[in-house]
Amino acid sequence: MQIDRTKRVSPPMGRLKVVIVGGGTAGWMCAAGFSRLLDPAAYDVTLIESDEIATVGVGEATLPHIKTYNDMLGIDEAQFLRETQGSIKLGIEFRDWNQAGDRYIHPFGTFGEPWNGVDFQHHWVRAKLAGREVAPLQAYSYAVAACRANAFEFPNQDDKSIRSTYAYAYHFDASLYAGFLRRWSTARGVTRIEGMVSGVERDGQSGHVRSLSLKSGATIAGDLFIDCTGFRSLLLGGQMEVEWQDWAKWLPCDRAWAVPCVTGGDGVTPYTRASADLGGWRWRIPLQHRTGNGYVFSSQFIDEDRARETLLAKLDGAALDEPRMLRFKAGRRVRGWSGNVVAMGLASGFLEPLESTSIFLIQAAVIDLVNLMPTPGEGDRMDPRLIAEFNRFFEIQYDRIRDFLILHYRANSRFGEPLWDHVRTMDIPDSLAAKMELFEARAHLPDYKYGLFSRDSWLSVLEGQGLMPRAYDRLAESLPLDELEAKLRDLKTRIDSNVATMTGHADFLRSYAPGERAPVLASVAS
């Protein structure tokens, strides 16, 4: 290769005008991130949103990374939880995915600990295959035990303590979070413009977006446009015509009903619940003041009315609103950044909220974009090298999650139900087939540095969905079986005795961050 050593010369001074279109979770997370991480002297951040457009944000449930993001912004956790009616999340409970009555938790924590340099699951499989006294895998996760006890306390900082072996995320009202970040961002220099975009002006030569015209007649010019317009993908899909990569063949769900209800059942659990059902699955997200519910389904396999009725019939409290319908397709744009348009959130792709990944994807895109931001002073002259790197990561993030989601469908045992029979027998990506095969053959777990999910997450779902390894790493045999049995017993005792002393989740919330007890009217699980 011949390396081009010519320096790209930028004018010494200048500002980059960034225009964010859309004020849902994606738009305001992006605005908040920019205002915290970028130099205000160099970047001018404007957000256009319209009160006429309802936001979607199916993801009220999050992953632990959200805490890193909030901490990076400098947000006070208790205030944030109070103002978003937030609760704590230690994992996701999957019910009925295998056979009716099954349940397992995908915890935000580890299973056991490595012994003799060998990962825990090998020892567990070995004890089981040897017919030794061994509890279900779930019993060896501190976070799972805490979920089962409906308990929470902050993880211990001492990494030798069993009480340090988990992380936590939040459940919150996404529209309240967007509002919270709106106040936060506008107080820190982000300009908010209320208005509906009615037209897009593009440069005849480069095809770049020059400016947006609003219904009010105003024109908003910019150098870089962030498309946070949700499913419409107004700029990336609509203007830049970036192709859609359809994943419906693997993830056939294309609708969701969403409805809030009075909290009942198990109360404000420190976990999300995802219950498999006919033609799809239902979510349950407990907030402080209400519970968010939804039914994600495939219209090929169950009709809308039946899904709606099922959802309402299975609520564990009185519905607080009429169910609202969302339509979607699983997939992503082939690129997240094209020309001078970067899409975030639903404008860039959609993955059903089975593993609460949508807010993570936004956050990851914001951080990547900040690192690869166009240089102030260059106007809309984008550097293709930075775009290429952004898009490389964009693909990795989406594709990794995709495989993890497909696993839940593929490895189900709901025999005799059309959707579930279909997904159990469909072709899956080779990348996933190899992971399943290696787990079943030898308890081997996927291990990669970049992108979700961790080995423990894979373990929870592979085993939870009923895959049982036939063998284990032979290095595990360095531990005598009697010693292994004793270690397993001790581990379980440490978990159980420590969890027994934890505070209840509801009590924790009441003392740490009680939300306002305002009556909730027409706010749909948004």
Binding site: R5, R8, S10, T375, R385, E389, L438
Partner: protein, 493 residues
Amino acid sequence: MNGAPDKIVVVGRDATLWLAACVLRSALKPAGVEVTAIELPTRLTPADLHATLPALEALHGQLRIDEAALLRATRGAFTLGQNFADVSGATPAFFHAHGAYGAPIDARDFFPFWLKARGLGLNVGLEDFSLTAAAARQGRMLLPDEETEVFGRTDYGYHLPALAYAATLKTLAGRLGVKMHQALAVAPTLDADGDIAALDLGEGRCVAGDLFIDASGGEGVLVSALGVARESWRDFFPADRVLRAVGPRFAALPPYADIRAWARGWVGLYPSQAHTHVSQVYAGDLCTDDQALELAGRISGQALTDAVVSVSDPGRRVEAWSRNCVALGEAACAFDPVHGVALQAVQLGLVHLLSLFPVSGQFRAERAEYNTTMREVYERLRDFQSLHHVANRYAGAPFWERARAADASDVLAHKIATFQARGEIPPSEHETFVADSWRALLVGHGLTPDTHAPMIDRTSPEVMKSEFRRILSFIKEQVLKQPTHDLYLESFC
């Protein structure tokens, strides 16, 4: 084969053979796995030396190899990195250190701060912010303590004379219960499925096994017999010959290797306690072996003896694991000599093999995973070596002109482009070299990013300046506390 492989036969020579035998035996002995080593005649001469990367220390730890005893037995030395110089003097020397460059400022990566400061006229080189490089330049060790741990990574590799290192490993293999045979050559016998059933060692001797490891070097006696094709990396590297020789020991032992580019190749000086090991790496059509020897002497400034010439032919077997045979070392992948990555590749091959070691007679999935992973491991190592070639600035020299025009992978091209645009290194899975190493090399070859990561612009110039001063004075202070390489070796070994 029906059950899990319980009988491993490793055939090969030198460090690859014995490392494989020791690692497999010590890890799998509790599982009842037997390891038999079939030793082929050595190819080593007194001139051969392994310049190793920091990860080897951990592997030695697992094998319970005592560092002091190892250095005593091999007369080896420590290395904190490599100094790259250009004998024409046209481009400044630079140091690739096995340690951090700078320390975080405001909890952010150091490098963009340095970039920004350079743009504002700072006249301090990147390596001046590396504690490890500074210690090396002063002939000192860098013994980490609490303060330096907070500052950043300070690692080291070794210069291990190869004959003595192989002998040490062989002794260990014996202690670990590896069965040993010697043979002049081996011929595999295949079973009806085409798997290797046994090896004929000549003189009527035959060794059967379940899983075979080919550690025989470039010719890959077993993988060749299985018909595994080889992908040549000839077009990535301009050198096809290597001359190795020894010179006298340096009076004061530098704790690093010195790599000197000249018009038709490069000369590497690797100090050990006994000798200075010198390599001359060149292209046969540009330089005869006699010229190579003469110039190696002149460029190293050493009176050289024991010179031997070998061929360098980088490339990879398309499958490192084929049927019931895993190739390690040059049998799997031959590297260009630059940056001394060969033992690292052996080590990673073993680490991944252990994590996928067959648990039954069916291991198709393990094999596929291993081959995918190792391909990436080998290619990322190659990319780092490749960067050294495509980014060189040696002017008016045919060898280096070829190097500049040599092939580079798309992954490397993207790394270079992203660095030039923003100073960042796009991360890859299965990467051996950390971002600091990539940047040391890129900056060393005169590539300067157009912009820096904008997040650091929220840190005030005053904070940035005072942090720079703090780092530089910390380095100065710490380096003075360190023993010289000689003193340390004397007290340690």
